[in-house]
Symmetry: C2
Subunit: 337 residues, 2 copies
């Protein structure tokens, strides 16, 4: 495939321009484009510009409010909520972040609930923004029903990612972000686009049979949780924390909502942050944990979650990123339609 | 194998008597015995009386303080800590629970850190005690290094269980509790005792080769995480939350500590509780979630985590439980030594 080489500033400007032409105001366009750009920077292409056509279609269908004004409120002393005003999650999170970081820093632990949002981003981007403030963080977000619970053959759970970040003052935080599905939807979509097979266990075809055909899973089939019933339990937990707790849509409810425009679904997100300085090992936890990371990395065959992203980050900042030519042209066309 | 039929009251009295004869005071003996009895009640034998010889050996070696007086303190408005005074986790948790439940109920979210404890119990027992107060809860606990991180062949992580509980007012909470190892240590030990094979993927033998021989994994081999690198990331998270955050021992540190008496290791535990009434869907979340559970259970092949335990519970309360004759005789001997 042909590629177009773009600097990160060009990626960001491309995304912002396209979103503005399609109904976003400046703040919403900037927040979403920044999220996509950070994904491209770390070679997390499934959450980069690959998502832009979905963002645009969900603006054009009128489902998402491109001029959302997210509103922050305090639910309880350690629980904050942002009502996203039917906009994308990115701006809602940005609006809630300063108060959330302050709250967690003081209270020891705090939670930020995002509701009435459309989440289409990578959790690690969001978690890293918290961990650079020297907080540990957990995040849970739902999605439309695409995954069969362990034992079943029918989609009921979202791919339901959960993420975790650990602060490493003086260097990049350790952040992971993983679907409770065996494979993230975006990765299966990219495999289907590129006609690459996926590992057995990724999903079932329309007949409920195991398959390695990515397209068969996407079109009429169903994804599977990772790790059998244990991954399925975690997916159930994400449903309850991102929807049940917040009064938002469960995956199966989001699937019934219209329109199906290829964009994200409305749902909830729960984030938890901890201040390690408050947990009794103030001043010493950094060294203790860095020693732990050092010993872990001394084992043959081990790498830290996120390592490949960080390595890619350095290259992208220096050299820019490669965008597939067909995607680039699709985006230019979306600016003009 | 021959079995002895005991009522739950007899199980509890047997445990308590044996612990008292071996150095526990009344409160510590009662707390630990109650934990074992609840495990027996739910046919979770790997955390029932099967653990009693390990409890006793760790008392006899002097490692654990059977007369521990756990101390509760407030670290921050939403973060409490109990210093377990070198005793078992059961009493430390009981001493912290009322204040923790009050704190989470008011603050929306709160955390309870247990340090200087020896954890040898099932997380679901502890989480259920929180969820019956209409709070959702998460728990993380470490263990000595027994699991190879994804890609490695050497033990570095504990089996590091995490658990989750969801309150269901008017009925038993939904609770799961799962090792981030492919199989809980206790289950492998029981398989080894009973000379039953374990599934491939459970662990490696002393040569670093995959095996189905439970004894080969226990003796010189190493366990594996569930679900490959995703389970390994979760295990890493449990290390950081139960040890790094709390200034307690990581799994590899606990492994170097002495004595190795077959009992539990010193470590930390982190519990988080949420009050769903504070998250914006007060008065409606129960019905919303019960409808979700109903739809989930309407799918062919699906059951809720913990269902088998609850079914067993009814039978045990009525009929008592069966204890293997050799274990029963071992316990009677431990009372007299």
């Amino acid at each position: 495939m042909e590629h177009v080489q773009l600097s990160l500033a060009e990626v960001s400007a491309l995304g912002e321009r396209c979103l503005r032409r399609n109904g976003c105001d400046a703040d919403n366009a900037r927040a979403v484009s920044e999220t996509m750009t950070l994904a491209e920077r770390d070679a997390c292409h499934s959450h980069g510009l690959f998502r832009l056509p979905g963002y645009v279609s969900s603006l054009r269908s009128g489902k998402v409010n491109g001029k959302a004004e997210p509103r922050l409120e305090e639910l309880a002393p350690s629980a904050l909520r942002v009502d996203g005003d039917r906009g994308y999650a990115s701006l809602a999170l940005q609006r809630g972040l300063p108060a959330f970081i302050e709250c967690a820093s003081q209270q020891g632990i705090a939670t930020l609930a995002l509701v009435n949002i459309f989440h289409f981003a990578a959790l690690w981007v969001e978690l890293e923004a918290i961990a650079v403030k020297n907080l540990a963080a957990l995040a849970f977000v739902g999605a439309t029903a695409m995954v069969a619970p362990a034992g079943a053959q029918k989609a009921f759970f979202g791919t339901n990612p959960l993420g975790f970040a650990w602060p490493r003052p003086g260097r990049e935080p350790m952040v992971f972000d993983q679907a409770t599905a065996a494979m993230a939807r975006g990765e299966i979509q990219i495999a289907a686009r590129d006609k690459r097979p996926v590992p057995l266990g990724t999903g079932l075809d329309a007949q409920g049979l195991p398959t390695t055909d990515a397209a068969a899973i996407i079109n009429g089939g169903v994804q599977l949780p990772f790790g059998g019933y244990k991954g399925s339990s975690l997916s159930l937990m994400v449903e309850l924390l991102s929807a049940g707790l917040l009064g938002e849509q469960f995956g199966a409810e989001a699937s019934h909502a219209l329109p199906k425009d290829g964009g994200p679904n409305r749902g909830g997100q729960l984030i938890i942050a901890f201040n390690p300085e408050k947990f009794g090992n103030a001043g010493a936890w950094v060294e203790h944990c860095e020693q732990f990371f050092g010993e872990l990395l001394s084992l043959d065959g081990v790498r830290l979650p996120g390592d490949r992203r960080l390595a890619q980050r350095e290259l992208s900042v220096r050299d820019g990123v490669e965008i597939p030519e067909p995607l680039y042209r699709e985006i230019l066309a979306l600016e003009k339609d």
